[in-house]
């Protein structure tokens, strides 16, 4: 699940130790951010076994949802109430 970066810490000269606190819907965990050097405070990251492997791209997320929301609703009536 994606979590939001609350703070970032990079020890002097050790980019491999770039870490941060990430909030997962109220649960906070320390996360290694060495593989996502572009991710900053406020960004959302995908975390696996304590490592951020990807920064969530807000523009792409919005685009995906826009495509889904633009889908026709005409057939929904055939399916009855949700």
């Amino acid at each position: 699940m994606p979590g939001r970066i609350l703070d970032v810490d990079v020890p002097e000269g050790r980019p491999d130790l770039r870490t941060g606190t990430v909030d997962f819907g109220g649960v906070r965990r320390p996360v290694c951010l060495a593989y996502t050097p572009e991710a900053e405070v406020g960004d959302y990251v995908i975390v696996h076994v304590g490592f951020a492997i990807s920064r969530v791209d807000e523009d792409e997320a919005a685009k995906t949802l826009a495509v889904l929301r633009a889908m026709p609703d005409a057939l929904a009536t055939e399916l009855g109430p949700a």
Binding site: Y35, H48, V49, G50, V56, D57, L68, L75, A76
Partner: protein
């Protein structure tokens, strides 16, 4: 929660299902590779909502499930040695080996510890210089960057009491093996979004072209899966066979280059045995020559062990997608998450555990 709730919107799910019904004119069989995706599909009942004829086959993407029995037995053997602290992700502790599991070693007084990240294992090694600390490095491309970093940190700290029992596997060779099987029914794949977040999707392009099979990089929320299935069905209906990316918010074509660099430095590609499937060439990772000194198999001289699977367990057929958990005579009777006979009932990503958690019974599935 942001990036979660909006991908669980029932109204949009209804529209996607309507669009799928309008798009699919023929029956198609699609495999979702990743166990996390299987979990969402089964828990949400997505497979039962799809238009008639669209069949989901649950793939082998459960790292705990495909870790070979011999490796589990080696873990049990190493963990039982005096002076060893054995560290592992929690799921692996209850995977049954030939004669027992890691939890049993712990119960008999062995020092077996669950860690959330491999860096914890490195910290344990630094804090216990008089002990040998072994980390059970299992998983797909998603955990490889973390495990690589653990080795790099141990090397930088000069730790001589840290090693890894490595059983890493890779997704693309497994997809190829499934497509090469003479009885293969899969016509399209949903590739695992987080594996591709690390590796990108260029490795899948030659597979899509060679086998004429659509591959859609897909996320893990219900709308992600429905959209991934829709994209795959559109390709199938239009006769296209391309790699498409549904999970654009998390996956870039080239993946995570920093993570790939660490993987390439610490590991090398090797043949691996997959539990239930067998040996697949160039389908896994071992430590590279530079870091071979951190290999627990060499350090502890683990020899080949005679292994024996539970004869009633059909995990192999489940992992190949030829049978469902509900086809198993032990399912919900002699095999439950509390008393698993095979790995797919242990892991949260296992198909059997997903079926069990969703309360699937043999009759409901057969009727669907």
């Amino acid at each position: 929660m942001r990036y979660l709730d909006e991908y669980r919107d029932p109204e949009l799910a209804r529209r996607l299902l309507a669009e799928l019904r309008a798009t699919a004119t023929r029956p198609w069989t699609i495999m979702e590779v990743c166990g996390g995706q299987t979990h969402t599909i089964v828990r949400q009942g997505i497979d039962e909502l799809l238009p008639a004829g669209i069949r989901m086959i649950h793939g082998p993407g459960c790292p705990v499930c495909v870790t070979p029995l011999e490796m589990v037995d080696k873990a049990v053997a190493v963990a039982g040695r005096p002076g060893v602290i054995f560290t592992s992700y929690g799921d692996m502790l209850r995977v049954p080996g030939t004669t027992g599991d890691l939890l049993g070693v712990k119960a008999r007084g062995g020092d077996v510890r669950v860690v959330y990240t491999p860096l914890e294992a490195v910290r344990i090694a630094a804090a216990n210089p008089d002990k040998q600390v072994v980390f059970f490095a299992v998983g797909f491309e998603t955990t490889a960057p973390a495990n690589a970093m653990a080795v790099l940190h141990a090397a930088r700290a000069g730790l001589t009491n840290f090693s890894m029992l490595v059983s890493h596997v890779l997704v693309p060779p497994a997809i190829t093996a499934i497509l090469d099987a003479p009885d293969n029914e899969v016509r399209a794949f949903l590739a695992a979004g987080h594996v591709c977040a690390v590796m990108g999707w260029t490795q899948y392009e030659p597979i899509a072209a060679r086998y004429r099979v659509p591959i859609v990089v897909t996320g893990f929320e219900p709308l992600d899966l429905l959209e991934g299935i829709l994209m795959a069905v559109r390709q199938l209906e239009e006769g296209r066979a391309e790699v498409e990316n549904q999970y654009a918010r998390a996956v870039r074509r080239d993946g995570n280059l920093e993570a790939q660099q660490a993987i390439r430095r610490v590991f090398r590609v090797t043949g691996r045995a997959w539990r239930g499937i067998g040996r697949i060439p160039e389908s896994g990772l071992s430590l590279s020559t530079e870091f071979a000194g951190y290999d627990a198999e060499t350090r502890f001289g683990t020899e080949s062990l005679a292994v024996r699977e539970n004869p009633e367990c059909i995990a192999g057929e489940i992992l190949r997608g030829t049978k469902l958990p509900t086809d198993c005579t032990a399912y919900r009777v002699r095999c439950t998450p509390r008393t698993p006979l095979g790995a797919p009932m242990v892991s949260a990503e296992g198909t059997c555990a997903a079926f069990h958690a969703a309360g699937r019974r043999p009759s409901t599935v057969e009727a669907s």
